[in-house]
Amino acid sequence: MKHLEDAVVTRNRQIRPGIWSMWLRAPAVCAESRPGQFVHVRVGRDFHPLLRRPLSIGRVHEDELELVWRIVGRGTELMAEATEGDAVNLLGPLGRPFTIDTDAEGRILIAGGLGLPPLVYLLESFRERWKKASLLLGVRGRDDIPLAEDDPLLREVEVVAERGDGYRRGIVTDPAAEWLTRREHDGGLENVALYACGPWGLVRALQGLIPANRLRRAEVSLEQQMGCASGVCQGCAVEVEDGDTPYRLVCTDGPVFPLHAVHAPALV
């Protein structure tokens, strides 16, 4: 069940240049949220900007949740202006979460840039049950890591940076390929669950890296411009080969889809 909830900002700070982290007290949303789900955030007053902004639910600690975003336009800029005690109206939790696969034996989480927050949430939920899951993050440079420098979680993430910046230099599919090769020799891929979130380039690269049906499960979380985020407007369609129609809605059928069912658009 989704809620319309006036959440209260408990902390809002810039964690990297242009990247913000906000914690909100939202008991109703938190009580039902699952990793991979998102909230639709009312950023403006009086319908300016007109639409809500979809943001992944990051960490959930008791009745507080975290949103992490990059400022890319007016909506995300307005969110950066909120301060402690402000009310922010959320619609959520929304969408289909990642599948928590209890029978999988290896778990690899692959994030590109701002695709990290839902995977951090997933990692934390895994930690409650299983010790080991690998979380890989690809960024351009240190400034693009969507975690604060002093965040203890940063130590649990394997960062790959195109510019190096003190991290392994390269792209995230490098360590992902190595991990999968190791795994293939050591236990096999049939029991591996892979979870990813990032730009279309990453989705395509992963589709190329992993032949369909080799893994037990491969899921990816997608983005699309949204209106209602509730299956009303039919606006957030993406091409997904899954059943009888060529299109699926990111807001209700997704945002999580089987990696190999997704058709990345030709022009991105």
């Binding site: 069940m1 989704k2 809620h3 319309l4 009312r42 009086d46 319908f47 300016h48 900007p49 007109l50 639409l51 809500r52 007016r74 619609l91 699309q224 411009q225 949204m226 209106g227 209602c228 985020a229 509730s230 299956g231 009303v232 407007c233 039919q234 606006g235 957030c236 369609a237 993406v238 091409e239 129609t245 060529p246 299109y247 658009p265 022009l267």
Partner: protein, 318 residues
């Protein structure tokens, strides 16, 4: 039912009696169930379903939305579940409430409108139909129907023969004058007119030089289209004797009152519902306050009350 201490918001749109003048617009409230968790459907006087066709439609290629704030461009292409699924699975769940159920119908050819209506006639509890003959986002039919008065009249007349239920014809604003289309729908036997559907528009990404919608052009909606919609309602009000349902950019109680003054008997709220699905309840409360403060006994006394005796002049600082 209505609390005697509270102002009565009820209105009539021809034979259709509503407990308040607020409908949810087609395409902006799904089939009536999607927002059930977060908003009480019965806070609406009525709601119009997503337009239904004879068979399910898959809709247009993505991207289908481009926000041009505070407006929205869409090219959904009438993606819908088809009349059969609605009749069997959804209708039993959304009939019987205080909110009237109006089923919107959109097809490529005239015969299909009749077929859809015939099927819906078997479904109890439907309060009326809105004929969407004004969608700008489909290749066949769509707004071409409403751009041709002769076709509009024939289509409405054919549907009229199939049902005794309330019918409204939803017209396109993408014409030089809506008068002929409005009169044609009236002549065909429509009980009301729904004005307006979206306005053809386009958004370009200057960086990539690409259109922001896959279909290049789409339909513009939201607060910026209100002045256009008000003009069409006023034009329609002066051209026909059937009531008008005003649509376009409504986001608060003042917008509602303005539409009534311009000639509407009721209104529909569309795009604003995406931002706030609970908006109708808030607007209804605000309208009650308005009636109390302004001493308005009945909302219907506002309909067409535009004072054209003199313009309102605003002082311009020297």
């Amino acid at each position: 039912m209505s609390d005697p201490a509270q102002p009565d918001l009820s209105v009539r749109v021809g034979s259709l009696a509503l407990h308040n003048p607020l409908f949810a617009a087609s395409g902006c409230y799904g089939y009536g169930l999607e927002y059930a968790d977060v908003a009480d459907r019965d806070e609406l006087g009525g709601f119009v379903t997503k337009s239904l066709s004879l068979e399910p439609w898959k809709g247009n290629a993505p991207p289908r939305l481009a926000e041009v704030s505070p407006g929205l461009l869409n090219s959904i292409g009438l993606a819908n579940m088809g009349v059969e699924s609605f009749a069997r699975e959804v209708a039993p769940q959304v009939t019987g409430g205080r909110a009237k159920l109006i089923v919107s119908v959109a097809c490529n050819v005239m015969e299909e409108y009749e077929q859809v209506i015939v099927r819906l006639e078997e479904v109890p509890g439907i309060d009326g139909y809105e004929l969407n003959i004004s969608c700008p986002n489909v290749e066949e039919g769509g707004m071409a129907f409403s751009r041709n008065p002769a076709v509009t009249e024939e289509l409405v007349a054919r549907v009229r023969k199939r049902t005794r239920r309330w019918i409204s014809a939803k017209l396109t604003p993408n014409v030089a004058s809506i008068v002929e289309g409005a009169q044609a729908a009236e002549a065909g036997g429509a009980d009301a007119l729904s004005l307006i559907n979206t306005i053809v528009g386009m958004a370009v990404d200057w960086k990539t030089r690409r259109p922001r919608l896959a279909t290049i052009t789409g339909g513009y909606s939201g607060p910026p289209i209100k002045p256009v919609a008000l003009a069409k309602v006023w034009e329609g009000y002066n051209a026909v004797n059937i009531p008008i349902v005003g649509i376009g950019g409504i986001a608060n109680w003042k917008d509602v009152v303005e539409f009534l003054i311009a000639g509407a008997s009721a209104v529909q709220i569309g795009t604003a519902l995406y931002a706030d699905p609970a908006l109708p309840g808030k607007i209804a409360a605000d309208l009650r306050r308005f009636m109390e403060v302004e001493g308005v006994a009945s909302l219907s006394e506002l309909t067409g009350s535009l004072d054209t005796g003199h313009g309102v002049t605003v002082g311009v600082p020297a």
